[in-house]
């Protein structure tokens, strides 16, 4: 399989970057995420999460610690909205 294959479409993270992160000591999908940004983009891992888990051998969709955690927001939103912009 080509090493420059895109795994995380949102953050444009390649298979090479992920395999290098794993070779460099990343064990869990969460560690891969923090090292490469895979799964941290717009879709929050909806597309690539399974791929990263297959590469690390993590249980699919597992959480909490040691894996990708689901945290609000589950959808991109603006900083202003999170900060309560427009609140009375």
């Amino acid at each position: 399989m080509k090493e420059d294959l895109i795994i995380c479409r949102c953050e444009e993270v390649s298979l090479r970057e992920i395999t290098e992160a794993i070779a460099g000591g990343a064990v869990t999908s969460r560690q891969v995420k923090l090292a490469t940004r895979a799964g941290m983009g717009f879709c929050q891992g909806r597309t690539c999460r399974h791929f990263v888990e297959q590469l690390t051998g993590d249980e699919p969709g597992a959480e909490p610690l040691g894996s990708m955690a689901y945290k609000p927001p589950v959808r991109p939103t603006s900083f202003g909205r999170l900060a309560g912009e427009g609140q009375e």
């Binding site: 959480e63 689901y70 427009g86």
Partner: protein, 414 residues
């Protein structure tokens, strides 16, 4: 910040959410359905199934009837509403709507499923889509996603959608496998695919599964993948190549073709490659429950491969371990739209009983559960041959969880 307050907030306006909302509204609850799409109905809108002896089952018609019933019952449905978070018991954070929060003592999470894929070199090139995305374009929006399509992945979704593309006038050049690699252990192996599809064949009275029977088994299953001809077999007149994988998608700005490789019975590449001109590649590796919000709500989960992966634990009334939070539809396990609607009914009665609008002994509750079991038996589409095992696993995990919670509280097991 503007907020709404209701008795029940339903997240997801597909068959599960809408049917639960209708039951709840008919029992006097103030119900608000939040749906992210321009029109409600969920993926039901794009579905078409040929029912034995009954002609075509058109999801869009079913959806229209369900939505009419919901509105007549007093359900308010808001489209374009993207839920991006939850605060406990319960404040729903939403955007795309005139209001920014919805507070409700009870929530139904009916967010459906997302599609799994297999990454293939070139798969970011426009003209590469999920099979489900192609279905929505062609059946809901009535736009052809391409002129000539290659389907990658041999499963219930790709077979169904290949046929739907052909019905709409898209040429289907073939249905092939994804390349063998770390992302496709099962789905790139012809022998395993034949075994899975032939197990499905005997399960339900659907044309798809009967078709699977004629192509995959029982006699053909015994033959094994080695004997499948490299020139393919026909499924609904569409060529399926079980000994071919799509190893590359080509094209600069748009898909112009693919590289196909002949593979062995276990998916091993042979090195024999050829190119094929297509302008559309649809990849699918099945569906998984889209349960992010159930995670955010703190629901307990179990890993149940037969239900598509990690699913929230739920009881017989569809309540989860999070107080006031119910689930229904594909978020609770991958099944067809009819099952989702029937499960929505069960959740609806669970919610109205929880709200004290009917007694826990009300016969309607049992009737809804019986109806769900019946719909499961007769469903025209099934995604996993060992679904029943998965449901049993989940029911046991729920019981164990309830008992553990009761013991933690010092009480007797419920």
């Amino acid at each position: 910040m503007t907020g709404r307050s209701v008795d029940l907030a339903v997240i997801g306006g597909g068959p599960a959410g809408i049917s639960a909302a209708t039951v709840a509204a008919r029992h006097g609850l103030k119900v608000l359905v939040l749906d992210e799409h321009p029109q409600p109905g969920g993926r039901l809108l794009g579905q078409l199934h040929e029912m034995p002896g009954h002609g075509w089952w058109r999801g869009a018609e079913i959806a229209r009837t369900m939505l009419d019933e919901a509105r007549a019952a007093g359900v308010e449905i808001v489209s374009g509403a993207a839920v991006y978070g939850l605060r406990p018991q319960w404040e729903v954070l939403v955007q795309g709507t005139p209001f920014e929060t919805v507070t409700a003592p009870r929530l139904l999470i009916a967010t459906g499923a997302a599609e799994k894929s297999v990454p293939i070199p070139g798969w970011t090139t426009p003209g590469t889509m999920t099979a489900g995305g192609a279905q929505v374009m062609v059946n809901v929006h009535r736009v052809k996603p391409g002129k000539k399509a290659l389907m990658v992945g041999v499963n219930v979704l790709t077979l169904t959608i290949a046929r739907e593309l052909a019905l709409a006038g898209v040429e289907v050049a073939g249905i092939v496998l994804p390349p063998l690699g770390p992302f496709s252990a099962e789905s790139a192996n012809p022998t395993k695919i034949i075994a899975a599809m032939s197990r499905m064949a005997g399960l339900a009275p659907s044309p798809l599964l009967r078709l699977a029977g004629s192509v995959f088994g029982p006699s053909s299953a015994g033959l094994g993948a080695a004997l499948y001809p490299s020139w393919g077999v026909k499924v609904w007149g569409l060529p399926m190549y079980l000994r071919t994988a799509c190893v590359e998608i080509r094209g600069q700005d748009e898909v112009t073709g693919v590289v196909l490789e002949q593979i062995g019975p276990d998916g091993t590449p042979t090195g024999r490659r050829r190119t094929l001109e297509v302008d559309l590649v649809c990849i699918s590796d099945g569906l998984y429950p889209l349960a992010e919000l159930a995670s955010a709500a703190g629901c307990a989960f179990a890993q149940v491969p037969e239900l598509g992966g990690r699913v929230p634990l739920y009881g017989s009334d569809m309540r989860t371990t999070a107080p006031g939070v119910f689930v229904a539809g594909n978020v609770a396990g991958i099944e067809g739209a009819q099952v989702a609607a029937a499960q929505g009914q069960v959740a609806g009665y669970g919610i109205v009983a929880d709200a004290g609008r009917i007694a826990g002994s009300d016969p309607a509750i049992l009737a809804a559960r019986t109806a769900l079991a019946e719909v499961r038996r007769s469903s025209p589409i099934q995604f996993h041959p060992r679904l029943a095992d998965g449901l049993t696993t989940l029911a046991r995990a729920w019981e164990a969880q309830v008992q553990a919670q009761a013991e933690a509280l010092g009480g007797r097991p419920v």
